[in-house]
């Protein structure tokens, strides 16, 4: 390979993205527990939150009014419908963050070094890895969506297709956040702390589970500060035609947040030493 010419360079970067993507998919598929878990976890949440709590309470008045203002479906949004969108968001975030953070495992098991000395841009590495994470997250979203349909979620394939870009953006944001975290924390142990202090809060203090319209003012402020809120609200707009924030603001905010996070994590990753 003496003197790889410049023309090859672009091809090599593409191959690097492909390799990182393929590797992620293969690892995902070969970890049996992970595949099972990715079906079981959302199923559990759907049963516990959706059927358990969701069926018990109809969407409250304020939210219904909002629904009338923004959405196509003017009436009959149940808390279950509301929740399914939140669960898709949660599941996408968990799996994406995990995929990003798994760089720590690569460091622990040495594989990271192999990647860091490869003659390709670290941007391609980050990009390939992110694509992999986004792909597996999307698979999870499809699984939940399908399960939810069986449980009485009212939506159409078309709305699901329409919501995919929003799911992708949210996944992008979360993967980039995961990669960023992996460059900050040094070992697997401190990941636990990150999980409690960062990942859980950004999911549970977002519009994924808390309806914005009925939240107290200070919670509203927190929800507004959390990019995840916009991502989930965007998904909701597209999936069930119901949202509590402006769709335009949703799209712009989650787009900016994910690009910013991607930039930050790429920067950190490209300066990484082992």
């Amino acid at each position: 390979m003496e003197g790889v010419c410049e023309g090859n360079r672009f091809l090599r970067e593409l191959q690097a993205i492909y390799v990182m993507w393929m590797r992620h998919i293969k690892r995902f598929a070969r970890t049996k527990g992970r595949v099972a878990g990715s079906i079981l976890q959302p199923a559990l949440f759907l049963i516990a939150f959706g059927i358990g709590i969701g069926r018990a309470m109809p969407m409250n008045a304020a939210a219904s009014i909002n629904a009338g203002k923004h959405g196509n479906i003017t009436a009959g949004i149940t808390y279950f419908d509301f929740l399914v969108c939140g669960l898709i968001g949660m599941s996408v975030i968990f799996s994406s963050v995990m995929a990003g953070v798994s760089i720590i495992w690569d460091r622990q098991f040495g594989f990271l070094k192999e990647v860091l000395i490869a003659p390709v841009s670290r941007l391609s590495i980050v990009f390939g890895r992110t694509l992999g994470a986004v792909t597996t997250s999307l698979i999870q979203a499809v699984i939940i969506y399908t399960l939810a349909l069986f449980m009485g979620f009212r939506s159409s394939i078309f709305s699901f297709a329409a919501s995919i870009p929003a799911v992708l953006l949210l996944s992008l944001f979360a993967t980039a956040l995961g990669i960023f975290l992996s460059t900050v924390i040094q070992d697997v142990e401190s990941f636990q702390i990150c999980q409690t202090l960062i990942i859980m809060p950004i999911v549970f203090l977002s519009t994924a589970f808390i309806p914005y319209s009925t939240a107290p003012v200070w919670i509203k402020a927190v929800l507004r500060l959390n990019p995840v809120s916009y991502g989930v609200d965007g998904i909701r707009h597209l999936l069930i035609g119901f949202g509590e924030l402006s769709f335009a603001v949703d799209v712009v905010t989650i787009f900016i947040a994910s690009m910013g996070m991607l930039f930050l994590s790429s920067l950190r990753f490209s300066r990484m030493e082992v």
């Binding site: 390979m1 090599r12 191959q15 098991f109 192999e114 000395i117 003659p119």
Partner: protein
Amino acid sequence: MKGKGKMMIDARNLTKVYPNGMRAVDGVSFSVKKGVIFGFLGPNGAGKTTTQKILCTLLKPTSGEVTVAGYDVVREASKVREVIGVVFQDPALDEKLTGRENLEYHARLYGMDGKEIKRRIRELSEFFEFGDELDRLVASYSGGMRRKLEIARSVMHDPDVLFLDEPTVGLDAHTRRKLWNYILEMRKNRKLTIFLTTHYIEEAERLCDEVAIMNKGRIVAGGTCDELKRKFGRKSILISFPSLEEKEKALRLIENISGIRIITERDRDVEVQHPDMDEIVLMREIQNTLLNRVEVVEMRMKFPSLEDVYVELTEDTDGGGSGHSIGGFVVRRMMHVG
């Protein structure tokens, strides 16, 4: 390759200070010619791995100039990465992939196309005798197989310089010997330069054309194994006697030579040294002492092993102590090996 002589690796005043203030590498200079197997010897914690990480662009040096194949490891890191292959001290394989996938993904990162990859895998599979193991997950591999795969992976893209960091650590004697053969064989086939880090002296002696001994962040000696032995090792004199009685008799006489040190005394053999006497002179002295009094079977000069030299030069690694270094030898100047 770019010019700058024919040095494939050239380090000048290389220093690495970690953020915690530890001076892992302290003003090291050395160079390695093309086609040479260069051994980097030293005890654990001497700074070998840090040096190697800098050479293969994983760490940035605090100061100093380093080029590999003519490219600067900081400013032209991606050029360096194209022409090197690396086997790290700790395993760096993806266990959830098969051996073949590990090789293939590596090759893709180095821009090889599918056809080339297939051909190369076939070639290496034959060379390393992988058989059908390549299609199993790495998680099921033995330690030896993993190492073999890592070495194969490191040469997949046909590098000019190969870095091997403790390549045979933790392997059994058979596997170790096999790996040594592969390494020697690989070098034979092409003009590959190999930078080998090890703390096994035997390994350095078997494989390396030249060695540098590192201790506490500095290179304390360098040259071919023979040069080092000649330069730093103290020769000793081995005398064999026909019987134990003769030996005892001789010992009583030899002890009268003032300053003489009896190093070993085994069976009918005695090994002696004298700290301030040339070996030839000592030999004559012993001869004179024993002449016509004791029967001697054989008397000869014994050269030190590389291990003797190594131990002598790297003693006192834990700091403190009386600083037993040979003649206070410290290389800070440029050390041109070879």
